[in-house]
Symmetry: C2
Subunit: 505 residues, 2 copies
């Protein structure tokens, strides 16, 4: 209920110290708040999608920042006991998140979280630093070779976590019988790896995980893939952009058992096979031989891995074992969920992590330009190998790097700009307290306020308003303040008026 | 627009495999979905504040988790190449966040974030791992002694960040003139310290930071304190619970300069004085002597530090220097903001961080039971000592530990329970796909759904519904499904009906 601007309200403004810029020097006095608001400086078009370059012209300069400081005397000493001249870049392979990057990260993480909650999952987290032992497996995984490990000041072997699943398993065991199964947990956490920085890859990334603990049925895997599909759809990715390759490690297991290969070689063989698209086939064969597999088994394995349909797989295996039962059920559920066109059987998918035992899947871009977008599977024995009960489990990891590349590629990166509802500014140094009071009133009403903390020309204020996408400019001038009023300019429409402070909404 | 339950709709249910529990064995067949819903098992009172203990009775046991698995054959091998028997606790001094703790953390962080946004601050973040050099200062700070530092695999000296401010300063310098001042940035990040675990203190905590870069005026400090007060009010903390002790390091500086103590000793002297309440006064004096301060200066310092009012300070200092001008302005602004009753002058507050140069403040509990809740101040020279331009700055850090202790103390910890809108369950294994389809429809409408992924007795389903605070139970039964309908029970009111799937809202 703002008072409509009324010429009779326009009382002279006697404060013109803000009229220092050349542009204002020509303004005639007396002048009112309203006339200031409608002065030749127009707010740049707001809600423009890109940050207006004119808003960037206020430099990171101390000269400007120090204007308006009255009575500034000698500043305190530079202290030589503080670190000198530092490297201004974050450590190799790590990232800063300035506001524009943080907005994107928050947008992405919020989508992760909202989808997880839509599926009834509860959020959890674990320490980024864990005992090294938690991640040490002997299957030759890349993840182990790249462990970001070190000795702490108490001579303990610790590691920055390369993945979240072992910590999750640890917590489930710790919680023991106090938590009712199934657990549906999600997490978004930073993970680390230490590798040579030749490929420009980072040493840290964030990973979204969803895990279902206590469900042996393939309904769990189907639910997980459904949640990823929901995520893709929300951010504009379609089934023609990405797909999931799905298989089951039980396929390989059945082949290996058929040739009486000892079970303890299973994880290692999977890890070797996972490298198929990265290293030459002869090297794969060499590694399989060194895992004591005969030529005959190797040939049979490679043949099975080339199978791309369930019909062919059934032919090849000769029987309908667990692998086929699981896979058929998964594809049938996918139809009911409505994501059948997103998934395809591909026996070559095994994933590079040793602990998977059943269904495995990975998300890929159909143009084939990028690494796997996400991956997951069933790991029914991880908890028991850690010393816990034998509880069935499955989950996936979804990193924050490849998806952003894909969104860029597809032109789907969202335009995210700063959002502040009000910018509040006093026209006089003596009115700073008044401006603070106005800001407080608005904030108590839930309105966000960027309060101008220095004496700045109006031109500067309009630029700042544009940069932060403020919807309203509220000016506190002496004459109006004496009447308990402030000047308001709606920056989107140009509308302006004076209003009683206690009627500000 | 649900179809009102109508006896003519009640078609026989031929699926009774879920009636295995003794309780159900007595149920007469034929039975309808609706009669199942209204069977003797009543949903426990929902929205109860504590987790119903009956909901906890489903144990973390594989026997139960494995029921309903048809055709389950031999499970895959336990793999000896996976790590064996692990320590189920997180590393010393670190925390897991199971769902109940994560809900509290999210609640706290959301309050941090919402307040920061109310004040027009933009979120940023930095690597948790930084070059050790960023944190090395020679002033004898506790923060340096407790640096969680180590050598990485590439023989670089790195540290898990003990605080966020140096990283922020690094990023501001890096951004250089491309960002318009002032910057108003906030962050919520994990920080680390390495100390002996004798006091049960943790080695990591999360810290909320707000910083204003580029404003020399004390309006910036006033705005920061205002934001913390707003935070306290939001979570139920009042001015009779907590207060802020405020001083300025310029007070000490004026005293030291009066005695011609070299400026480079300033940071070190402040760090020594900060320990006043922790170690005996004689040890403080000893340390000050070893910093080459004369007895006369030490006595004068200690006298000034005991001053608790601005009037006394003015008397003591004899002149109105920068310290007094700043402090008077701050107290005057506090009145305008409306938080004058939260703050008090206390010359003994200096804070233990070397880089502060002007106003310093800390939040404390008035009962005096806890450590400082938060602390901050002006650090006008940090950027220039790092090799950047000399840009004025101030900020604060607010940890996640002491505030939670305080909330507990005051009985103000919020009751946060899981929140899922629907629980969807099929009454027959063959209808799992149908249940998945129903879940998909609801989720597409933005409704959260916990989908029951196994065949479970209804008793179990009601217990789970209570545990997750589900508002509706949706049952998919064969006869209804053939008509395109499902059974609905509103768990809060007990109301129940059948409805067409495409009319589910």
């Amino acid at each position: 209920m703002p008072a409509i601007a009324n010429p009779s309200l326009l009382i002279l403004l006697h404060h013109h110290h803000h009229l220092r810029s050349r542009r204002f020097a020509t303004a005639l006095l007396p002048q009112t708040l309203l006339s200031l608001l409608s002065s030749s400086i127009r707010a740049p078009a707001l809600r423009a999608h890109s940050t207006s370059s004119s808003a960037q012209t206020q430099p990171l300069s101390t000269d400007n920042a120090r204007t308006g400081r009255s009575g500034s005397i000698s500043s305190p000493p530079v202290q030589p006991d503080i670190a000198q001249k530092i490297d201004i870049n974050p450590p190799k392979g790590t990232r800063d998140f300035p506001p524009e990057d943080m907005r994107l990260r928050n947008w992405l993480f919020n989508n992760f979280k909202e989808v997880s909650q839509l599926y009834g999952f509860e959020e959890v987290d674990f320490p980024v630093l864990e005992s090294e032992a938690l991640f040490i497996r002997k299957a030759g995984e890349e993840i182990r070779e790249q462990l970001y490990c070190f000795e702490d000041r108490g001579n303990r072997r610790v590691a920055l976590r390369p993945e979240l699943t072992p910590s999750l398993a640890r917590l489930v065991i710790q919680k023991g019988k106090s938590v009712p199964l199934p657990l549906k947990w999600f997490a978004v956490g930073q993970c680390w790896r230490y590798e040579r920085m030749t490929r420009g890859r980072r040493r840290e990334h964030y990973q979204w995980n969803m895990d279902i603990i206590g469900v042996p049925d393939v309904t769990a895997e189907a639910e997980l893939i459904s949640s990823i599909v929901t995520f893709f759809k929300r951010i504009g990715i379609t089934a023609s952009d990405v797909g999931f390759k799905v298989s089951s490690r039980k396929v390989l297991q059945e082949v290996l058992r058929g040739y009486s290969v000892p079970d303890h070689l299973f994880g290692r063989v999977c890890v070797i096979i996972d490298k198929m698209e990265k290293i030459p086939i002869d090297d794969i064969k060499k590694e399989l031989r060194s895992a004591e597999l005969s030529e005959e088994v190797i040939e049979e394995l490679l043949q099975v891995l080339s199978v791309k349909s369930l019909e062919k797989l059934e032919e090849k295996l000769g029987t309908v074992g667990e692998a086929l039962v699981d896979l058929k059920q998964l594809f049938s559920l996918a139809e009911k969920y409505g994501y059948a066109d997103w998934i395809q059987f591909d026996a070559s998918v095994v994933r590079g992590i040793a602990y998977y035992t059943g269904i495995v899947f990975e998300g890929f871009d159909r143009e084939g330009k990028l690494r796997a977008i996400c991956g997951g599977g069933r790991y029914d024995h991880l908890l028991s190998t850690f010393g816990g009960d034998d509880i069935p489990a499955c989950g996936f990891g979804f990193g924050d790097a490849v998806i952003v590349e894909l969104l860029k590629e597809k032109g789907l990166l969202p335009e995210l700009s700063p959002q502040v509802e009000n910018i509040v500014c006093s026209l006089d140094q003596d009115l700073r307290g008044a401006a603070a009071a106005v800001a407080s009133i608005l904030r108590q009403k839930g309105q966000s306020v960027d309060l101008v903390l220095e004496n700045k020309p109006l031109k500067w204020v309009f630029k700042r308003a544009a940069r932060i996408n403020a919807q309203r400019l509220i000016l506190v001038g002496s004459a109006e303040w004496q009447k308990g009023m402030v000047g308001v300019k709606i920056l989107t429409s140009g509308e302006q008026y004076e209003v009683k402070v206690d009627e500000l909404e």
